[in-house]
Subunit: 196 residues, 2 copies
DNA sequence: GTAAAAACATTGAATGTTCATTCATTAAAA
DNA sequence: TTTTAATGAATGAACATTCAATGTTTTTAC
């Protein structure tokens, strides 16, 4: 049983590694097998097809966002502080685990997404939605459709992460602070101007 | 001569159409040829390889952003109005020309990008950079690295466009207005609070 | 102006490669 | 002994690309 998990994990790891490097086309099953120290046929004991493998790799990240947010969020604080900590929690996680981030980017813009239900996608970002709704209900966040706020929030973070990972620019604390301020000043409730 | 342009255009159109539908994997040369009403071999008169074809399709959009911005921008107006018009110009163009938008998304997150110089990418967004710099220099835009502001600006628009195109949500004027306000309130210069 | 020649454009079947997937066989665990 | 796991060579499909043959346009020479 332990071995089974080891093998599955090795296959997941190799897949994540290859896809994050150069996209799906750079992850032929033969290479996945080789990098996972496994025979090509073995992968098919654990996964029906390449598509299944990738889709399950995504599913294995189901609770990722939830974990990061619950780690970063402290509901006793004022909402702006919570917002900042969640923002930085996500940003920091993606920088430290860039393979995961890059895989998610590939997956979300791939034909796999189109086939599988949008619900998968929806569920993945649910924790962000839940978090932002708290801010909406207590008047800290601008009134807008919840789907929109999630999209804009994640869009800001992912733009920052991509900029960092592109390696074409030195990212200092000023940059991340500016990105955060842009996000917060855009999303905060403009009718509650006492949140500096 | 006219015929040459027609054929090239037909090949570009077929490629754009297929890639925007389902990504690169959905655009085999045989299908491109068929949809362009051309023999497979003909494509290779005009393009060295598939990679060249796609790369040139991207290059053919070099002046896209510049065109949209110069169409939308009116430098006699207050900067907030210019910002709004450029924002809506880009948004509207991408909604109306969703194939172009979807192709760009695919291209920018593909291995093609990694191979070709980042300069291509840089140059593509230069007109946005130039526009935002005007706002920065006249004090309308928050002080931040130019690369970052471009990324955040385009990131906001592209998030909105993706949400619209996903078709899972009815996008009304309220939604686009909220997205715009989020963008502007985030990016405007907080030290110049008279820009309502 | 016309015919021959050269240059160019187009065709699509054939080629060779890359890959996902299968399966008969062997090894390990129950 | 039976069930489960693992192997990797073999299979076949999908694809990018080539090329010899054919059609079309342009140039040249008279």
């Amino acid at each position: 049983m332990k071995m089974i998990l080891d093998k599955k994990k090795a296959i997941f790891d190799a897949t994540l590694d290859l896809i994050s490097k150069n996209g799906f086309h750079a992850a032929p099953m033969s290479l996945v097998a080789k990098n996972a120290n496994v025979a090509a046929g073995t992968i098919y004991h654990y996964f029906d097809s390449k598509e299944t493998l990738i889709s399950e790799l995504f599913k294995s990240q189901k609770c990722l966002i939830e974990g990061i947010i619950s780690e970063a969020d402290d509901s006793t604080k004022p909402f702006k502080d919570r917002f900042r900590q969640v923002y930085h929690g996500l940003y920091t996680y993606f920088i430290k685990n860039s393979k995961v981030f890059l895989f998610l980017e590939q997956y979300m813009s791939s034909p796999f997404m189109h086939k599988n239900s949008k619900e998968e996608f929806e569920a993945f970002f649910q924790p962000i939605s839940d978090f932002l709704k708290k801010g909406l209900y207590n008047g800290s966040i601008r009134e807008m459709n919840s789907r929109l706020s999630v999209t804009l929030f994640y869009g800001n973070i992912s733009a920052l992460v991509k900029l960092c990972l592109s390696g074409t620019m030195l990212i200092d604390i000023t940059t991340t602070t500016n990105a955060f301020n842009t996000c917060w000043d855009g999303m905060k409730n403009p009718r509650q101007p006492d949140q500096n």
